[in-house]
């Protein structure tokens, strides 16, 4: 474990006994940080007094790089934001460009976007749950979750050739139409998924050890979730019924019949349970989208390679696996964005760590981190 003791601060307690506050540095290369995040933890015995998350280890300056590229050249950069959910960043960015340039996307492309993003949600939640399970020692659940994620990644590979950085959603549509037989493969995957999810749900969240580790740990109240800008399963686990697909609907989501999964207690268990239950809803949406989708183009015909939107600014957001993922774009009329900003849900959710972990033990901190499902590519940008 890359955990080192950084310094000791001796003090005297009210009873006159010497007490030491331990400052333990967790990370930046630590398996339970889900990437390269560093946490400076102040401990009283084994109890967390304060946490200072130190981020920026993966900061590549994507917002600055975007100012130097054309609108189309920025799409591969957005792949590198949330690297377990590239489709979301692609789509959020493309929606902002389309809003800025006033483009209307063909319907088949909208359906393909919904299908890939719901599949991505399944893959991303499987990754998050698997990692959260592995952190608590439940490695079998990790393998079960990764099995399902692998199937989604294979579907994406046959769709666009890439397993991680898809570059699939483009301004004005999607890069390619689905290959022959792809829809049937997707349909058989989502039809088989609920049984696999039942298995995982019972194995991980029905397990008495996992319940003991997760229940009552890192409780987030609904008021705090709203005030701190939390979104996605992190907010919904606290009972905040807010899902952009339902409450700020975009694309073809108004035509879909699905439920918003909402937790009650706001602890790590409810957040993780929301992720499992959301995968059932995603499978439902994909099934409906495949039935509703009909032929047609997948790109706006004759769209110039060099987009030059009129000066102005636009913000658009989608519901990613981690929450409200928004892209703010400013155009000055040139072929390159004047400014791009990514509103990252994982960034807002990670800011909750000091609030959630005070009073819990160091080993609970790992569970809390896992339940927030941080992806540092998106946090650091």
């Amino acid at each position: 474990m890359a955990t080192t003791i950084e310094s000791r601060t001796p003090a005297i307690s009210a009873e006159g006994l010497p007490v030491e506050e331990l400052v333990v540095n967790v990370g930046p290369s630590h398996p339970s940080t889900h990437g390269v995040g560093r946490f400076v933890v102040h401990l009283d015995g084994d109890v967390v007094v304060d946490v200072d998350p130190v981020i920026g280890y993966l900061h590549r300056g994507i917002e600055k790089m975007a100012e130097n590229r054309t609108y189309l050249q920025v799409v591969p950069l957005t792949d590198r934001l949330d690297y377990v959910g590239s489709m979301y960043a692609n789509w959020a960015y493309c929606r902002a460009v389309e809003r800025l340039a006033g483009l209307r996307v063909p319907e088949r492309a909208e359906y393909l976007r919904v299908i890939v993003c719901e599949l991505q949600r399944i893959a991303s939640h499987m990754m998050g749950l698997g990692a959260a399970a592995a952190d608590t020692g439940a490695f079998t659940a990790f393998v079960y979750a990764f099995d399902q994620r692998e199937r989604v990644v294979e579907l994406f590979e046959s769709l666009c050739g890439a397993r991680l950085t898809y570059n699939y959603v483009r301004p004005g549509g999607v890069a390619f139409d689905a290959p022959e037989g792809w829809s049937d493969d997707v349909m058989s995957f989502v039809r088989a998924l609920p049984a696999r999810l039942d298995e995982l749900d019972a194995l991980l969240l029905g397990n008495v050890i996992a319940r003991g580790r997760m229940k009552g740990v890192g409780v987030l109240s609904a008021q705090d979730a709203i005030a701190w800008g939390a979104s996605g399963p992190t907010a919904r686990g606290s009972g905040v019924n807010w899902d952009l697909r339902k409450h700020d609907p975009y694309s073809v989501y108004p035509r879909m019949d699905f439920d918003v999964v909402v937790g009650e207690r706001g602890d790590a268990y409810d957040r993780n349970r929301c992720r499992v239950l959301e995968c059932y809803e995603s499978a439902r949406i994909v099934e409906q989208a495949l039935v509703q989708m009909h032929g047609g183009g997948v790109r706006i015909e004759g769209l110039p390679r060099l987009l030059q939107p009129a000066p102005g600014d636009a913000y658009d957001q989608i519901e990613s696996a981690r929450g409200a993922l928004g892209v703010y774009l400013v155009s000055d009329g040139s072929p390159r964005p004047y400014r791009m900003h990514v509103r990252s849900p994982a960034f807002a959710n990670l800011a909750l760590v000091p609030l959630l972990s005070k009073g819990h033990t160091l080993s609970d901190l790992v569970v809390i981190l896992g339940s927030l499902d941080p992806v540092f590519g998106e946090i650091d940008r």
């Binding site: 800008g229 807010w242 102005g312 600014d313 928004g326 072929p335 990670l350 800011a351």
Partner: protein
Amino acid sequence: MTSDEMLELIGRISAQHPRLYPLFSHEFGDAVVGVEPAELLETAVDLREAGFDRLLMVTAVDRGEKFVVVYRLQSRALTAAIFLKTQVPRSDPHVASLFGVWPAANWQEREVFDLFGIGFDGHPDLRRILMPDEFEGYPLRRDFEMPGMIRRPDYI
């Protein structure tokens, strides 16, 4: 919320709060309201009272002599979202912190401070967040230069 309802909402909020002035409305389907930096904090409290309970985003845009500080607010109850914008001079860029209104401003304001060098008065913990503490300069300013940074030629 339709754009007509949005216009009506903005009109209603502006009438109640004379400090607020609509810059332009729903040019891209978005309502934008501007405010003087001195009155930002009071306006933010008013907007939260009006139902905008979520602060989604804080960022800034470098406009040469001025920085535009951009806030994105959303309301689940009103099913509406608006931009709140204010301008600060480049020579002395600082604005009131909204941490007391929406705690979500905590890290977002630190990020703007880190990358633009805009100060947030009253922020409890204003220090760099993405760049190293010893880093000099503010990378997202348009005039930021660094050895090894390549600017693409304009003809692309």
